[in-house]
Amino acid sequence: MTSQTSYKPKLLWLQSITCNGNTHSFLNHPDLASILSHFELVYHPVLETPFDIEEMARGELECDILILEGSFREEGFTRGRVEVSKILEAYAKKAKHIISAGTCATFGGIFKEYDPENISGFCFNVEERTERYEMYASKLISLPGCPIHPKWLSYVLLMMLKDKHIPIDELHRPQELYGITVHTGCARNEYFEWKIDTKGFGLKEGCLFYEQGCQGPYTRGSCNKILWNDTSSKTIVGTPCFGCTEPSFPKTALFSTKTNMGIPATMPLGVPRRAYLTATGIAKSFKIKRLEERIITYDS
């Protein structure tokens, strides 16, 4: 059953200071055709639309759902020859829903670092609310991530299409996506449980939290539950999580774990330090032979 007779919400994708990563991630959605069939694309930076960028920049197009990508400055950045802040004003007022797609649009992200005083996210400047928060919070869904996973965006769009309420947290992130940590479902969980570090890179055995800088246990996100490209994730292939959905992204020295005398400086989300250290101390006291060994041996 198609939505030929039901109303197709008008989608407008507005880019600010961005690398286009969220755009390309979304275009990679395996069900792109069917998702887009429910909407009328008013303007998009890559896909063909009835209006070009200068028409869009006048701020006069209809818009039900505004998707924002990239971080913002009040002046000094234009799209279609108009200051983005002006275009933003026009569409944010009209839109029924606003989605900040990506960490830059939500919190400021990487590009904020170039001019921290003047560049921020849409409604949040790192974790602080900006002036725009008061005006637009009621319509806002935050989808931080660098980039976003296409299915996070399609989830939000389809919920909006069907007028369903999206449970969100205090930073307006959908709880279904950000209520768990990247650690949930990681293929290396057993090694985390028994505190077996992976000793370098390039092995499927071992946990990346103790020394390789993995921020999975305290980063809100669903990367090990809704797999990347329907197939994989950073930690599955032995790359540490860099915490890209969090307001603090990017931190520094991303490939090594900050420790104080060997104790991780940041604890898993919500786990008190004493609880973690006690459990760790006990787990470390036992040597689980199976977990110390390589799983597969290939004959040369």
Partner: protein, 430 residues
């Protein structure tokens, strides 16, 4: 008379000022207005953070930046006296994932930009939703890539000494299957014939017997007398070495070696994009350049007739996908899983170094340079392919893309010529 146009859908925008004289374009000024400052953002960071930050220069060619960054660090280590040996497995995996991105980029350009724009220019709308074809190919090939790299966009799975992944044959078989599916798509949609038969074509005449969307584009260009437009200085360069691409420069079809130390960047008036030259000369980079440097027969045959026109340029980019598909299969088939994935430990081994890394990204040579002191980045430079093609030139000669556009009689046609270079605004403006 100067006509100013804002060009969009080039991974961002650019302002083009066309100077007309007696109905023909005699000069073009290209300007990019906004600089995001990644090079400055990198200063003071841990050297390996470049593996995370530099991909964020660009949402579509981020993997190329990752490989360039890791090669830069490895080159730095070597300059400081540490021997860095990558296993064949690690090298092959890196080549494979980078090839996947090149293919994704080319097909996205072909179906989301070139085909729709050409149809619009010539009023030959086909009514097909070409974008969805690109999306299908893209999601398939990036799946294969993510088996090793974890995700696309924005993987950081290449680290000094190798890669972080430790694949199994389950992984490799799955990747091979996805490459086969991508080949099937290419055969059905793009060339309309089996890829083996396609790669054996030994005469230009047979190109016009192709079926599929490549044939459509070649025919549209040919039938509308556009086969010779967009010619430039016929001078090509490539710096990235791999088992498929060779580094070198090609001038009047003769090939010479190159040394990245002779690459120079310079500031240009009225734009944040810097110009790039090699020994003070301008060169084209990209698939056509790679084909000319490695003397790829099918491209050279076309080049013989049409020089570096849009026909040759467009063909070279789509043709490169065929080469990459077939090469990727080989890389996977020859993968030795018992070799180590990463030969270096987890610490940043050398605290002070200077390094340079070059790779062939989709749009051409990508070069990173860095100076690291006490483990922290003191300086980082990124030279992107689009900078080469869009350099303004000087009194002696026009820039590559500008020369290609000069002589055109409409901004629409000139804009199309511009797009055949697969311009990337975010990379250029960093």
């Amino acid at each position: 008379m100067i006509v100013r146009e804002l060009i969009e859908k080039i991974e961002g925008e650019a302002e083009l000022d066309f100077t007309f004289n007696e109905g023909k374009i005699e000069d073009v000024r290209i300007s990019f207005a906004f600089y995001r400052g990644i090079e400055e953002i990198l200063v003071g960071k841990d050297a390996r953070d470049a593996l995370v930050i530099t991909p964020r220069v660009c949402g579509i060619c981020n993997h190329a930046h990752l490989i360039a960054a890791v090669k830069t660090i490895e080159n730095g280590y070597e300059n400081a006296g540490l021997k860095v040996e990558l296993s064949n497995k690690a090298k092959a995996i890196r080549e494979f994932t980078l090839s996947c991105e090149l293919m994704q980029n080319h097909m996205t350009w072909f179906y989301m930009t070139i085909l729709p724009q050409l149809e619009k220019l010539l009023g030959e709308a086909s009514g097909e939703n070409h974008a969805l074809k690109a999306s299908y190919f893209s999601s398939t090939i990036t799946k294969a890539m993510s088996i090793f790299a974890g995700q696309w966009p924005h993987s950081s799975y290449a680290v000094p000494g190798g890669v972080t992944c430790d694949p199994t044959y389950v992984d490799v078989m799955q990747a091979e299957n996805l490459v086969d599916e991508s080949i099937r798509f290419y055969e059905e949609m793009v060339i309309g014939m089996p890829i083996d038969k396609y790669l054996e074509i030994d005469s230009n005449a047979f190109l016009y017997d192709l079926d599929g969307d490549l044939a459509r584009v070649l025919q549209l260009i040919g039938m509308n007398e556009m086969a010779d437009i967009g010619q430039s200085h016929d001078r090509f360069i490539a710096f990235g070495d791999s088992t498929l691409f060779k580094a070198g420069k090609s001038m009047k079809t003769r090939v010479y070696s190159v040394d990245a130390n002779y690459v120079e960047e310079s500031v240009q008036q009225g734009t944040v994009a810097k110009a790039v030259t090699y020994k003070h000369k301008l060169y084209e980079v990209g698939p056509l350049a790679r084909a000319m440097v490695s003397k790829e027969p099918m491209v050279k045959r076309l080049h013989k007739c049409y020089k570096d026109s849009i026909l040759t340029r467009v063909f070279a980019r789509v043709h490169e996908v065929a080469l990459l598909l077939s090469h990727s299969k080989e890389l996977l088939q020859n993968l030795r899983l018992d070799e180590p994935s990463c030969s270096l430990g987890k610490e940043l081994i050398v605290p002070d170094f200077e390094g340079v890394g070059a790779v062939e990204a989709a749009r051409g040579s990508l070069i990173h340079k860095t100076t690291v002191k006490e483990g922290l980045i003191e300086n980082y430079e990124i030279i992107v392919p689009t900078q080469w093609n869009l350099s303004h030139g000087d009194d002696r000669e026009n820039g590559i893309a500008i020369e290609a556009m000069v002589g055109s009689s409409s901004t629409e046609e000139a804009t199309f010529i511009f797009r055949t270079f697969d311009v990337c605004s975010v990379c250029t403006a960093q």
